[in-house]
Every structure is written in structure tokens, then in C-alpha cells.
Amino acid sequence: MDRPIRVLIAKPGLDGHDRGAKVIARALRDAGMEVIYTGLRQTAEMIVNAAVQEDVDAVGLSVLSGAHMHYFREVTAALAARGATDVLLFGGGIVPDTDLPVLAGLGVGRIFTPGANTDDVVAYVRSEIARRRSQAAH
């Protein structure tokens, strides 16, 4: 049997708006995943350390302060530096459409904006991890 999906939900930087992060953490946990929530005010390095230590399949970043591009770049680079490029990085927050192609170019997965359905987030993480695991198995 597959091991349960492990997800790190992280709040990078100074932004304290944690409603979304907590709701997503709870939704993923209720869906049977193992969820670690970092709490507030994390640096990219702290997030990636936690991701590696906890051996997670996915990292979800929540940013509502407008500083998302900065943090996605930093976390992507820090994951690469630790050789953790197989970890799915996805996110949510106040992210305009115009930034999406740049994030996709960095290898970032889906971004969920205000109004997103938590069932969609669960389904996305589940299918994306399943896809990656089956690729890794082949």
C-alpha cells in the first residue's frame, strides 16, 4: 500500500493572514493526508529544512501580502539546492493571473486564489502526487 501523502503547509515571510493556510491544512488532513503546518514568519530556508526533514511529498505556500513571487523563487531555489526537486510546490493567496506563467516557468504547480474549493485542492494534490509516484516507479 502507498504511504500516506505528506504535505507541508507554510506561511513564508511577514504575512500573518493564516485563515486560508489553516483551512487547507485541515482539509488535506481530513482527506487522510499527513499535514505539517509551519506556523507564521518562516524563511525559505526554514520551510525547505522542514520539508526535507519531514520527507514531504508536497509544499503549499500561502502568501497574501503581494510578496509571492519573491518567496516562490526563494523556495524553488532552496529546494533545488537541497536536491528536493521531486517535491510538489503549490500555493494560494492573492496572486494575479499575470504572475501565473512566470510561476509555471519556475516549476510551481497550481495556485489557488480566493474562492477556491478545498475539495479541488485535495483532488489536485492527490492526483499530482499519484502521477509523480507512478512516474518515479517506472
Partner: protein, 548 residues
């Protein structure tokens, strides 16, 4: 006329047999059940004299002024701030030209967290969700061409509120203004930061102590300034219900009053300058009831529990802002309708000041066009809808008064729970608010995900996304900020700056009032980060327990 119960059993039952009730949730957003009909029976025993009174009279349910909007409309105060002080100053001038009657400043996260723009933690955040203010030099640029005696300014600042307020007052003094004539508001509500928005720096006890310093100093030096705006807004944005917002906010206000009394202050000296800030969300009547209940509860607490004698101490004056959390990224133009309904609720609730959100705020900072449309929405309510023609037009509504009573009762129940935990600070440390709000926000999210509640464009009437233009923040902001900071550090008198920081350290250590030291530090061009570092060193920093 037959009793309500009989009418429900006969006529209503028959009607819903012929045509069944829709499959909808007949509850307010706070999950208060809503009956099919309200009649005089729901207000049995209701004494309009004691529960409502006249507007401008205890318990102020109908509003804090006798003539309300017939004399003076609410202050149209749009929250603005982004990029550099120069850019935000330009937006301020445009908003004033567009008919706005007061200013409201949004600071960026490094400022809110007490870091200078060139601190490592500020990387990527400078000027993003507000304007960066790291010293008096930024404050002077921000209010260039604006007369602090003529325009009142609200500043959304909490942990570093003492320092930023001192910078504002120092700016006014350098313009030759008389501080006795300078009006405005600092948010300065640290309790709701621990409860909801999480922009705290120091532990609860020294944080509250800094707030009480302003209660003591403010009325003597800047008597037209509201030195606190006790805020439910952020509690609601964090996912609370309307009732939780009301109860936790008033509990916070009561906590400050108790702390100020412990310091030996006279309630009638400070209470008239305690102001409030509530959210206005989608549930129209519940929101109106919240404002009316808030005024009645506060007036009774202040007069009957705390013994305030001055009627101005009894009055709950409040700012309101439409609910950012209700805005959707999908079909963003639909947000214009949400904001209009929320604005109308705020006005029918008797707010004294209002910010209307721009429709594009689920996507980015508002563009100038979107912010102007939001201001125009208030102007339509004010000048076209007719709701301002008479004071508190909904008073006596069976439903609204029942709901107002119900919200008051539920709020008093929450007060009892918080007191049983040992008060607000203890309840914060016990994770009580985090759990209450977390559970409520989870339930609201599931109600939407599972379509028990419909949100237009999100889980009903879905359509392809309309593209709207968004506001971009210039990447040069951080550089401009860094350069001004470097100039400030280079050109100021280093001995004066060091001496001011020493005085601040002494006051933090000996427990004396810190405000004179903050004023001295502002005039000496000490940076915000330097001042907050002194306090971090003395008070320590707070880490909240991680709870999901």
C-alpha cells in the same frame, strides 16, 4: 389577529405544502436560525425606551448623534498605501480631489512588523501591501501638501503604533501644527493581533502596556486623536462569525478599559477617545444588528459596569470596512454588488466612517479606477439611495430588533466564557480564540465547498474569468526606500539619535510612559527598526503556539 404560532401552523404550513420552502439555509452567517416571520410577539416585553432610546442618547442603539446623517454624513475614508511614500502621497491627493473626506494609511509588512526597509526580513515585502515608513523622513514625504489640522488621518498600525504615531505628530509639529488641533486615529489594537491578524512583536503583557501608555498620554497631548481603534475587522477576516467578531472586539475594548483603570487613569479622561472598527459582511440584517448591538452593549458596560459619567464615554464610535474576505477572484466585477450591499448595511447600522473595498482586491492591490469606483459606491448610497433622510430608519423592525437582542445575548455569553478563562490575555495564551475562529472559518468554508451556501460565480453561476487590469508595484520601491534610509542615518545628529534610543530603553525597563521617549526618537530621526529593536531587547518577542 391570531397568534403567530397559530398562523405558522395554519397559513404558513398550508402555503409551504402548496409550494415547499426552497432548499436553502435559513440561518444568518453566524448560524443564528431565522424564522419565516417576525411579529410583535417576538418583541414581547421589549421596551423601546430602555432598549433603543432616541439617537444621541443612552444606550445609543439608534446612533451616537441625534441628527446623524442629516447633519453630517459618515467620513468616507478609503484605506490606501503602496510603494513609496511619494506614490502613496499622490494617491492621497487624488482621493481627496475625488471627494474623500479623510485619509487612511496602509503600511507595508516590514513597517507593521517593526523592521526597516533594508532589514533581511523585509526582502520582497517593501511597499507591497502598503507604504513603507521607516522614519520621520518617510512620514514627511507621505503627508506632503496635506494639512494635519484640516484632514484627519487614520493609521493602521499596531505593534509599532507608539513609534509611528510619534512620527506623525512630529511631522505635524514640524509643519507648525498645534497638536491640540490634530485629529485622527491609530489602530493600536494589539489584542486582535494576537487573536486574528498576527502582527504582534512582543508578548501580550508588554504589548498591552504600550497601548495603555497612549491612553494616558494621548488625551493630554493630542486630545483630538483616537489613540485606539478596537477592531473586529481582522477577527472577521480571519474567519469568525459576526457574533464572535462583536463579542471578541468588545471583550478586547473592556480589557483595555480595565488595564487603564488599573493604571489609575480616570475613565472619563480616556474613554471618549476609544474608537472601534467593524467589518461589514454579506448578511445584511445581521450586520446592521451587529452595529446597533455593539453601541448598546458598550454604553451599558461603560455606564453601568465601569461607572463612566461623561456621555461621550458611553458612545461607541466606529469605522467600518466592507469584507475583503467576501471578495472573490472569480468574476471579480460581481464584487461591486457585494460591496454596495455591505456599504448600505454599514450605513443603516449607523457607522461613523466607512471604507469600501475595491472589486479587484482578491487579485491585487486596488487600481486607481477600482478604488474610485468603490468611493463612488459610497457616494451613491449617500446621495441617491434616500437612506440618509431619516435617522436609523429600520428601528422597530420585528426581525432587526429580535436579531439585535439575540446578538447582545450571545455576546454576553461569550463575555462570561472569556471571564471564566481568566480574561482576554489568558484566553489568548490558552488558544481559545484561535480554536473558536478556526472552527468557524472551517465550517463556513465547508458550507461553500459543499454548496449548502451559494456564492455567485464561485459555486453557482460559474463563468469563465473576466480579465481585469491589476495594480503593479514598481520594483524600484525597495531601492528608493533604502536610499532614503541611508540618507537619514548619514545626515541626522548621531548623538541625539543615540540619546533618544537610550531614553526609550530606560522607559521600557523602568515601566514609565514611553510616549515622550518615542516623540524624542521621532524628532531625532531614529528609524522604526532601531526603536523596535530596543523594545525587542527589553521585552522579548512572542511566538504563538502552532494550532490547526
Amino acid at each position: 389577529m391570531k397568534p403567530k404560532e397559530a398562523w405558522l401552523a395554519d397559513e404558513y404550513q398550508a402555503a409551504t405544502t402548496r409550494m415547499p420552502e426552497r432548499e436553502a439555509v435559513f440561518e444568518t452567517l453566524s448560524d443564528i436560525p431565522v424564522e419565516p416571520l417576525y411579529t410583535a410577539e417576538d418583541l414581547r416585553g421589549f421596551d423601546a425606551g430602555t432598549e433603543l432610546g432616541y439617537p444621541g442618547e443612552f444606550p445609543y442603539t439608534r446612533g451616537v448623534q441625534a441628527s446623524m446623517y442629516r447633519s453630517k454624513l459618515w467620513t468616507m475614508r478609503m484605506f490606501a498605501g503602496f510603494g513609496t511614500a511619494e506614490q502613496t502621497n499622490e494617491r492621497f491627493h487624488k482621493l481627496l480631489t475625488a471627494g474623500q473626506t479623510g485619509l487612511s494609511t496602509a503600511f507595508d509588512l516590514p513597517t507593521l512588523m517593526g523592521y526597516d526597509s533594508d532589514h533581511a526580513m523585509a526582502l520582497g515585502e517593501v511597499g507591497k501591501c502598503g507604504v513603507a515608513v521607516a522614519s520621520l523622513a518617510d512620514m514627511e514625504v507621505l503627508f506632503e501638501g496635506i494639512d494635519p489640522e484640516a484632514i484627519t488621518t487614520s493609521m493602521t498600525i499596531n505593534s509599532p503604533a507608539n513609534a509611528v504615531w510619534a512620527m506623525y505628530l512630529a511631522m505635524a509639529e514640524r509643519k507648525g501644527a498645534d497638536l491640540a488641533k490634530v485629529g485622527g486615529t491609530i489602530q493600536n489594537d494589539i489584542l486582535k493581533e494576537f487573536i486574528a491578524q498576527k502582527e504582534y512583536i512582543f508578548p501580550p503583557a508588554p504589548s498591552v502596556k504600550l497601548v495603555i501608555d497612549t491612553f494616558e498620554w494621548g488625551p493630554r497631548v493630542a486630545p483630538r486623536f483616537n489613540f485606539v481603534s478596537v477592531s473586529g475587522y481582522h477577527i472577521r477576516e480571519a474567519g469568525s462569525t459576526s457574533v464572535q467578531e462583536l463579542a471578541f472586539t468588545l471583550a478586547d475594548g473592556i480589557h483595555y478599559v480595565r488595564k487603564a483603570l488599573e493604571r489609575g487613569l480616570d475613565i472619563d479622561e480616556f474613554a471618549p477617545r476609544v474608537s472601534f472598527f467593524f467589518n461589514v459582511h454579506n448578511d445584511f440584517f445581521e450586520e446592521i444588528a451587529k452595529f446597533r448591538a455593539a453601541r448598546r452593549i458598550w454604553a451599558r458596560q461603560m455606564r453601568d459596569v465601569f461607572g463612566a459619567k461623561d456621555p461621550r464615554s458611553w458612545m461607541l464610535r466606529t469605522h467600518a470596512q466592507t469584507a475583503g474576505v467576501s471578495l472573490t477572484a472569480r468574476q471579480p466585477l460581481v464584487n461591486v454588488a457585494r460591496v454596495a450591499i455591505q456599504a448600505l448595511a454599514g450605513v443603516l447600522g449607523g457607522t461613523n466612517s466607512l471604507h469600501t473595498d475595491a472589486f479587484d482586491e482578491a487579485l491585487s492591490l486596488p487600481t486607481e479606477e477600482a478604488a474610485t469606483l468603490a468611493l463612488r459606491t459610497q457616494q451613491v448610497v449617500a446621495f441617491e439611495s434616500g437612506v440618509t433622510n431619516t435617522v436609523d430608519p429600520l428601528a422597530g423592525s420585528y426581525y432587526l430588533e429580535s436579531l439585535t437582542n439575540d446578538m447582545e445575548r450571545r455576546t454576553l455569553d461569550y463575555f462570561a466564557q472569556i471571564d471564566a478563562l481568566g480574561g482576554v490575555e489568558r484566553a489568548i495564551e490558552a488558544g481559545y480564540f484561535a480554536k473558536e475562529i478556526g472552527d468557524a472559518s472551517w465550517k463556513q468554508q465547508r458550507d461553500i465547498d459543499e454548496r449548502r451556501r451559494l456564492v455567485v460565480g464561485v459555486n453557482a453561476f460559474e463563468q469563465d474569468v473576466q480579465e481585469v487590469p491589476i495594480q503593479l508595484v514598481d520594483a524600484a520601491v525597495a531601492r528608493v526606500q533604502r536610499e532614503r534610509l541611508e540618507r537619514v542615518r548619514r545626515e541626522r545628529d548621531p548623538q541625539a539619535a543615540a540619546a533618544a534610543l537610550d531614553e526609550l530603553r530606560d522607559r521600557a525597563k523602568d515601566g514609565g510612559n514611553t510616549m515622550p521617549a518615542f516623540m524624542r526618537a521621532a524628532h531625532a530621526f531614529c528609524t522604526l527598526g532601531e526603536q523596535m529593536d530596543v523594545l525587542r531587547e527589553v521585552y522579548g518577542v512572542y511566538q504563538e503556539p502552532v494550532l490547526v
